[in-house]
């Protein structure tokens, strides 16, 4: 068989979305999953060592080629586009959803101290936030969570890669955790 590393590299390049390990395994059924994972790690290390314009990144549970972050402004020049950036308020709302999910609007509002309906709508439209379900309390409020696109946009492998909240630890509040919610 040809070089496995080369095959995997080709698969990642040819994919429009981050390729998950399982999908590579489907293409290469005769190769052990652990071996594929190992090859992926090697490949990532190679790209890192080379320190070129391309990075092999783990995002949203898969693997994807991305340009090196330091080179961003060059690529932007090429594309000539200005990315639609989120307002401070939208970022705060998104951060609360990301860390507190599954979360309902009233919880977000009690943290931010202001109405967030408009901001949530914007985040839903941008597909960074999604409706996860409805909470089983009076009024059946909508439960929000982040999307896969959120992970892709913020270059996150998964939610556990979010840095831990610093000051919340100091609070040590028992009511910290809201009731566990079903549906994810």
């Amino acid at each position: 068989m040809e070089n496995i590393k080369a095959i995997i590299e080709a698969l990642i390049l040819a994919s429009e979305v981050p390729v998950v390990l399982e999908k590579i395994c489907l293409v290469l059924p005769e190769i052990e999953k652990t071996q594929i994972k190992e090859t992926l790690d090697n490949l990532m290390a190679e790209y890192n060592e080379r320190a070129g314009g391309i990075c092999l990144q783990e995002v949203a549970g898969g693997y994807q080629f991305r340009t090196r972050p330091e080179l961003g402004h060059w690529v932007k020049k090429l594309k000539g586009t200005k990315p639609a950036s989120l307002s401070l308020a939208a970022m705060e709302t998104l951060a609360i959803v990301a860390y507190r999910q599954p979360v309902v609007k009233s919880e977000i509002e009690s943290i931010r101290g202001v109405d967030v309906s408009y901001l949530l709508k914007g985040l839903l439209e941008k597909k960074l936030v999604r409706i996860v379900g409805r909470k089983d309390v009076p009024g059946k409020p909508i439960i929000y969570g982040t999307t896969k696109k959120f992970l892709e946009v913020f270059n996150l492998k998964d939610l556990s890669e979010l840095p831990t909240l610093r000051e919340l630890k100091e609070l040590n509040e028992p009511q910290e955790t809201s009731e566990e919610l079903s549906g994810s």
Partner: protein
């Protein structure tokens, strides 16, 4: 009164950057180099109310939340003024505790948001190969494929795509034909009873005048709201198909 002189300078510039009452409080705490665990409530309340006055005098819309916070501050201030009981029966909580908790929590998320913004963000700092998004995925016979319920946003996007495509063809249009959304609703229902499902474009048929597209879209939204039809697609960016909802 004692802080008036130094206060007046930075009002105007700072006003619009506050994200809410908690943000304003954090700003005041930072500005006065106050220990967040030991807030001098009288001082902060006074400065806070001055800001509110400023906002009002500028005729800016004041969110109700700012006033709620003002009353909370005044309430805390008054509680702090009460003499402490000689023998506290049970350990009384500092009247500021809840506010401090809220401030710390908000501050933590503010920082988390700042951290998120500093990550290598897609299309800002990092780029992937441009994804190829086919304008319309081939028509698939429904039934064999897994169907995904279409979200309202996708429906609106589909509508938008259609309208922009039509607008390219006809820029000027004068139409005197009269039809109501109700007529179109009836028309859609009738056609759906004959055929199992229809795409949005098929619903329009050959007559793609702008008003008809808009009316059809409105009719569709109404029907979906009334749960008389359902919109499905087989994949993201796929063709949206309208199915009659099974009546019980």
């Amino acid at each position: 009164m004692f802080m008036n002189e130094e206060q007046t300078t930075d009002y105007a510039i700072k006003l619009d950057i506050f994200e809410g009452p908690l943000d304003l409080l954090l700003y005041l705490i930072k500005k006065n180099e106050i220990d967040i665990y030991n807030i001098p409530v009288a001082l902060i309340t006074e400065q806070y109310l001055q800001y509110l006055k400023m906002i009002k005098s500028l005729n800016l819309d004041l969110a109700g939340e700012y006033l709620v916070m003002a009353s909370t501050l005044i309430h805390i201030k008054s509680r702090m003024l009460l003499p402490e009981p000689e023998e506290p029966e049970e350990e009384e909580e500092d009247p500021r505790a809840e506010l401090v908790r809220q401030l710390l929590e908000y501050k933590a998320f503010k920082e988390a948001a700042a951290n998120l913004s500093q990550r290598p963000i897609l299309e800002r700092d990092v780029f992937t190969r441009a994804a190829f998004l086919p304008e319309e995925i081939e028509k698939l016979p429904p039934g064999e494929e897994e169907l995904i319920e279409v979200s309202i946003f996708e429906l609106i996007e589909a509508f938008h795509r259609l309208v922009t495509r039509i607008d390219r063809k006809e820029l000027l249009e004068i139409d005197l034909e009269k039809m109501s959304v109700t007529d179109i609703i009836n028309d859609i229902l009738e056609r759906l009873s004959n055929e199992k499902n229809l795409t949005f474009e098929e619903l329009l048929g050959e007559r793609k005048e702008r008003w008809r597209v808009i009316y059809t879209f409105l009719a569709l939204l109404e029907l979906i709201k009334l749960k008389m039809v359902k919109a499905y697609q087989t994949s993201a960016f796929g063709v949206i198909r309208i199915f009659p909802a099974v009546e019980s």
